[in-house]
Amino acid sequence: MNRTFVKRSFWTKKNAFPIAAFLTLTAVALLAPVYIKILFPLHVLIMIYLYSALGTSWNILSGYAGQISLGQSVFVGVGGYTSSVLFVSYGVNPWLGMIAGALLAAIFGWLIGKPCFRLSGRYFAIATMAVVQIAYIIVTRWEFVGGARGIYFPLKNWGLRFFAFRAKAPYYYIAFGLMLFSFLMVLIIEKSHIGYYLKTIREDEDVAKALGIDVPKYKAIAMAFSTTLAAMGGTFLAQYLLFADPDSLFMLSIPIMLLTVMGGTGSMFGPLIGAGVLIPVQEYARAYWSGSGQALDQILYGLIIVVIVILQPRGLIGIFEGARRRFFRSEAAQTKTPQREGI
């Protein structure tokens, strides 16, 4: 039983493609605000990054750990409202507010998860759905947090220190940073035992327990990652809109879930791909047609979802993975021949 440590090179052919792609895309993304001077496309990109991060928050809990959350928006709301209330009522800096919101959301998530995680998965799904409804009603009636009107920021202090800008470019970079942070979280999970454990829990909890996995503990870890990220997205959204109201922070569960499922659950770039397709549709459709009051934007949105589900049930990431498999086919054919010639 001598366990030896073999260092494998990071710069393999298998890694070269994702690394090159990542660096290129990052460079393009960072330069975008320099070239895009029209506000609307920039707004759409900001939303893509934000929803990618929010999708990832759902993906960690539901895609990796298999604990389907039907009310992910409650953590977005807790994050956004915490920083907004702290800022408007107590003058607390929004950056600090973001940390406070993330902590509160994590505690909130722990309180929801604690009783549910010992039961079967559907209790958790139902609980999250109920909690977001209750939270929505409470916030709507609670005058201290602005009730149905919401909280409007005093537009006095601008700049990085106050997390408030007149231009879109700074928001763009912060949203991009938030998305990178979400990828970092996924990377930490995927490149450690946590990822293996979460996937095992998702597939079969009995197997997980039999292999020594403390199931409630690892569900709680997934919950902590997930809620923190959702809450940070909530603070960002409030700072971007410069107000917080129940509809814009507590009603995002369905799009968050949908775009992740569209893009591909349990994979790092699924949420970004899903957001990249659905958010432009949503935002442009809303901008061009919503005024007519015919809900045409909703219909188009629905149509696209139906088409994706029919063509690519595994999510859009399936297309990308298919392409990558073709790219590496020759290599795979040499190394991965699952043939056993006796023992």
Binding site: F5, V6, K7, K191, Y196, K199, D206, A210, L211, G212
Partner: protein, 238 residues
């Protein structure tokens, strides 16, 4: 004290006593066979020992410590591992990744866990399938993977639930070979098996369950001639 001691253990499901005050033990280094007709309570007894279901009576000791009431993961951490009668491979993971999940009990560091998993994979003859998705394996290889994954947690006692059911002649000969190897590696084995030609020669001692109760316990030679055992099997066949 023996490695595993089961004292008067019962498990009732409503009115049905699936396991009824069973006493048995397993000593270090043994291969013990647990047999009995379908529905005798063998899997239920495994579930009780491994902590997957609570017991309704009795006590279970492993390595000198009382384990009934503990959760399966705590019991696994005490170095008691089990396989499932109905194989539960993580189909979307590769063979190596499946084994790594067990190997994290030895080290949480990926490179160390991977090396250890490779060693276990080699030991179980699964290396040629390292990168195959577990869902694509034949039933024989799935059962082997089930054993490898449990073995990767580095157990002192391994509970094997019908790892040879549904295997071809060659596959079950390989499996017998593997079980001897596991014992020689220093792991004690308690195994359930229906195929008498396999369980009889391999076991040091046989325990027979029927309708939840222990009806016999002896060396394979004597069990083969035991009237109660023959009746139980003929009775269930009739």
């Amino acid at each position: 004290m023996e490695l595993l001691e089961i004292r008067g253990v019962s498990k009732r499901f409503g009115g049905l006593a699936a396991v009824d005050s069973v006493d048995m033990y397993v000593s270090r280094g043994e291969i013990v066979g647990l047999i009995g007709p379908n529905g005798a309570g063998k899997t239920t007894l495994f579930n009780c020992v491994a902590g997957h279901c609570g017991i309704t009576g009795g006590e279970i000791y492993f390595d000198g410590r009382r384990i009934d009431g503990m959760s399966p993961n705590e019991i696994c951490a005490m170095k008691l591992a089990r396989t499932f009668q109905i194989v539960k491979s993580i189909t979307r993971m590769t063979v190596l990744e499946n084994i790594m999940v067990g190997a994290f009990m030895v080290s949480k560091r990926i490179p160390l866990a991977r090396e250890w998993a490779r060693e276990v994979m080699d030991f179980c003859g699964l290396s040629p399938l390292a990168d195959a998705k577990a869902g694509s394996l034949t039933i024989g290889d799935k059962k082997r993977l089930e054993v490898a994954r449990a073995l990767a947690t580095e157990p002192e006692l391994l509970l094997l639930d019908e790892v040879m059911a549904g295997l071809t002649g060659k596959e079950s000969r390989d499996a017998v070979e593997l079980i001897y190897k596991i014992r020689n590696w220093g792991v004690t084995v308690l195994m359930v098996e229906h195929i008498m030609e396999i369980i009889m020669p391999i076991s040091d001692r046989i325990v027979v369950l029927d309708s939840g109760t222990k009806i016999a316990e002896d060396t394979p030679e004597k069990i083969a001639r035991d009237k109660k055992v023959i009746d139980a099997y003929l009775g269930s066949a009739a």
